[in-house]
């Protein structure tokens, strides 16, 4: 009987507890207020582009940052290089090969608070079937009922075989690609 009451109490209490936990965590990603862009050098010229479509799952409680996690899937076919000719080119086999690898994915494995509103997010980045461990510095800025995560990191396209064959040398398109992101998430109800 005692056990039964305990179960009852737990059953009644759990949803409440779960709600409180959710209320504090930012986990409703607002795609329309989020962006993933990139910049790179082309014969000394700074170029930029963006990905129009991506899906992000995220859970972040400022009180418990180490428990935060995120998964971001970027639709590589949605790339915007600024020129239709470029979009077509990077979808092709030497670049993203979107027929075989339509998505790039980042899965976080850990979050470390590094002071102020800054966090280091470690995780695995997979592009074109190749996975690399990366550390992404991000800041978190609360904005009313939602929060904004901003950050940028640099990858080497050579690590992911992005740009093979004639493009493999870095004299025209540089190796370093800087990726910038802004993810806005509302706190769950």
């Amino acid at each position: 009987m005692k056990r039964f009451i305990l179960t009852l109490a737990l059953a009644a209490g759990l949803p409440l507890a779960a709600n409180t936990a959710q209320a504090a965590a930012f986990n409703q990603v607002q795609t329309d207020k989020s962006a993933i862009t990139f910049t790179y050098q082309q014969m000394g010229v700074k170029m930029d582009g963006k990905f129009r479509k991506f899906a992000a799952k995220l859970s972040f409680d400022p009180a418990k940052p180490t428990e935060a996690s995120t998964t971001i899937d970027v639709d590589l076919t949605s790339v915007d290089t600024g020129a239709p000719e470029g979009d077509q080119e990077v979808a092709g086999k030497p670049w993203f090969n979107t027929k075989a690898f339509p998505t790039a994915q980042f899965v976080s494995t850990g979050v470390k608070a590094v002071g102020g509103n800054r966090y280091d997010v470690t995780g695995k980045l997979t592009i074109k079937g190749k996975t690399q461990d990366i550390v992404v510095p991000a800041t978190f800025t609360p904005q009313g009922n939602s929060g904004v995560f901003d950050g940028s990191f640099t990858i080497r396209r050579g690590d992911f075989a992005i740009g093979e064959g004639a493009w493999a040398k870095f004299d025209i398109v540089a190796n370093d690609i800087q990726i910038k992101f802004r993810i806005t998430a509302a706190s769950g109800k």
Partner: protein, 176 residues
């Protein structure tokens, strides 16, 4: 009035002749190439050479207004003299308008010009696809016009040399 061009004027004339023929040939060759590292390289070279030509034409204009060229032969009919001046005016106008249109086109298309990959030239326009496409047509049209005026320029020089047998062509040569 002097009857000869200065060495500087001749040097600038022939330097620009070589540069502009190279730019024209490169421009007509590269514009419909499929995208490749080669194409991006040629575009960069074309833009670097274009900026160089633009600066050279400014130097040349400054020299032109401070050092009057020799007069046209008095034997030339008035109407032909007018045509010669109009032709030279058109050449200068196009030598300024063409690099400007290329510069604006690059800005509108979102490809900044960085001289020799080192010196960024400011973008005068924001990125705008429609405007970029329009400026591409303007750049091409001005160049076709330039080719036509150049043909007239070269044709006239040859006519002066072989038919009129005056010194119009030879006075632009080094040892005149």
């Amino acid at each position: 009035m002097t009857d000869r061009y200065t060495g500087t004027a001749k040097t600038l004339h022939w330097l620009m002749a070589i540069l502009l023929f190279g730019l024209l040939a490169l421009g007509f060759y590269m514009h419909d190439l499929p995208l490749s590292p080669e194409k991006l390289k040629l575009y960069s070279w074309h833009k670097w050479a274009g900026v160089t030509a633009f600066l050279l034409v400014l130097v040349r204009l400054a020299w032109r207004v401070t050092h009057l060229p020799p007069a046209l032969p008095a034997s030339m009919p008035r109407i032909m003299q007018l045509a010669a001046h109009a032709g030279h005016f058109a050449l200068y106008a196009l030598m300024i308008a063409i690099p400007l249109s290329g510069w604006l086109m690059s800005s509108a298309k979102g490809f900044q010009t960085v001289w020799f990959g080192v010196l960024p030239i400011p973008d005068l326009l924001d990125k705008n696809k429609e405007l970029g496409d329009l400026l591409a047509i303007v750049h091409k049209g001005l160049n076709l016009l330039f080719v036509a005026v150049l043909a007239g320029h070269i044709g006239a020089a040859l006519k002066h040399h072989f038919i009129d047998r005056d010194d119009i062509l030879t006075r632009m040569l080094p040892k005149h």
